[in-house]
Symmetry: C2
Subunit: 250 residues, 2 copies
């Protein structure tokens, strides 16, 4: 059976507050986890500010380079929310008040006794031809045009929108992952681990050190699309570690 082709993705996070340090992004890691679980390979992330030219050029680079693009931020009701305009310009279509979104939002605000201000109406604007991404948290929808999925920056809304997007995506090769805690520091295992990696080219092998209270801890992660390849590489890593530990003891 032929393996399915890889499905690739990029993310564009939009907002001055991410670049000033005022807000620490929480959406990139969440998207990465869900895409990985779906076998979709997140290959690149960019963060840009609320500047239309910059959003347009980044978006055009990413949407031509990857199967899917996901954006966060800039779709609220205030003057610094310019993502709908930028996406429209990137696709060369007008940015219009969407009838269905206007009706949804008008009903929502009426029910709550809240005025449907001009600012709120701005959230119904999207590129001509875009489809809605439902927003169960605060109603104003995100949207999809071409391969670009435009979502809110507030994490709870981003996550709710993404939950609605995930079932619509083409699934890629499921990436299987196994890991081993390694009692030896990276500097001791670097060369033998390289030899294992070179002998197991069907998988990717990563080494991830981190500081703990008692010094460095190290984890070796093997990722691949075939269980037998992953298992064989993990066995080779384990044998390598056992051998090094035995030599130290000997």
């Amino acid at each position: 059976m032929d393996k399915p082709a890889p499905v690739t993705a990029a993310m564009l996070a939009i907002g001055d507050e991410l670049l000033s340090g005022r807000t620490k992004d929480k959406n990139i890691g969440h998207l990465a986890e869900l895409l990985t679980a779906a076998g979709i390979e997140l290959r690149e992330v960019r963060i840009v500010g609320d500047e239309e030219d910059h959003i347009v050029s980044a978006l055009n680079a990413l949407r031509q380079g990857y199967d899917y693009v996901f954006t966060s931020g800039g779709i609220g009701p205030t003057h610094d929310d310019i993502t709908a305009d930028a996406v429209s310009r990137a696709f060369g279509v007008p940015c219009l008040y969407d009838d269905k979104a206007m009706a949804l939002m008008a009903a929502h605000y009426q029910k709550r006794g809240v005025e449907f201000t001009e600012a709120r109406k701005r959230m119904a604007r999207m590129p001509q031809g875009a489809e809605h991404i439902d927003n169960p948290v605060s109603v104003a929808p995100g949207f999809v045009i071409g391969n670009v999925h435009v979502m809110a920056g507030v994490p709870s809304v981003f996550q709710a929108m993404l939950d609605n997007v995930m079932p619509t995506l083409r699934k890629g090769r499921q990436v299987l992952s196994r890991s081993i805690g390694c009692p030896l520091p990276e500097g001791d295992i670097g060369e033998p681990l390289r030899a294992v990696a070179q002998a197991n080219t069907a998988v990717s092998i990563g080494s991830y050190p981190r500081f703990t209270d008692t010094g460095f801890a190290n984890e070796i992660v093997v990722r691949g699309t075939e269980q037998s390849d992953v298992d064989a590489a993990i066995e080779a890593v384990q044998a390598m570690i056992d051998d090094l530990v035995a030599r130290r003891a000997g």
Copy 2:
């Protein structure tokens, strides 16, 4: 007195683990805070995996577009640490074992009774002509070549290296910031806030909603390089809020 020119920066975070969701980046927000405090404008961030062609193309785009570039990740001892090679290729110079780094690290490991393995020696490799960034945590240095500052991905090491880099950077226009908590939702203030923004073009005005236990909270942030401009805009925002609140009560 003329204002100093803006000083701009970009960041390139490198590592498969950031794109798989295994590791949540902690360096972008930290860099953003320190640059903002120094008046240096972080304009763009990219995250790419451990793939040399991709690192080279992203780095060449960023180093030509901004005054400074900061990278994180990929300078450890294992086979998936390829940042030094990629940066060398981007600059068109050989990647060499640096004599000073070799001497530093040899002395460090000898003192601790740790073997200076081929893997550890890899951490002394850097582009020909690069200068060290001292690493007080684990000795193996980062490096600077041209306008590119190459640092570790482990947050404690990244932060320690960045502390050594910050005093070497040209300072930009200090950005002053004031904020007001706003009792009204964004949808109510969007249009009047746009008018305030259009009347105060010397500053940038952002509106940042977030969910709380009791619904949306909203904060208006004014940023600019002149205290008088920031103060005038904050007064205008406050007057706008007071006016809207009075109308609601009236």
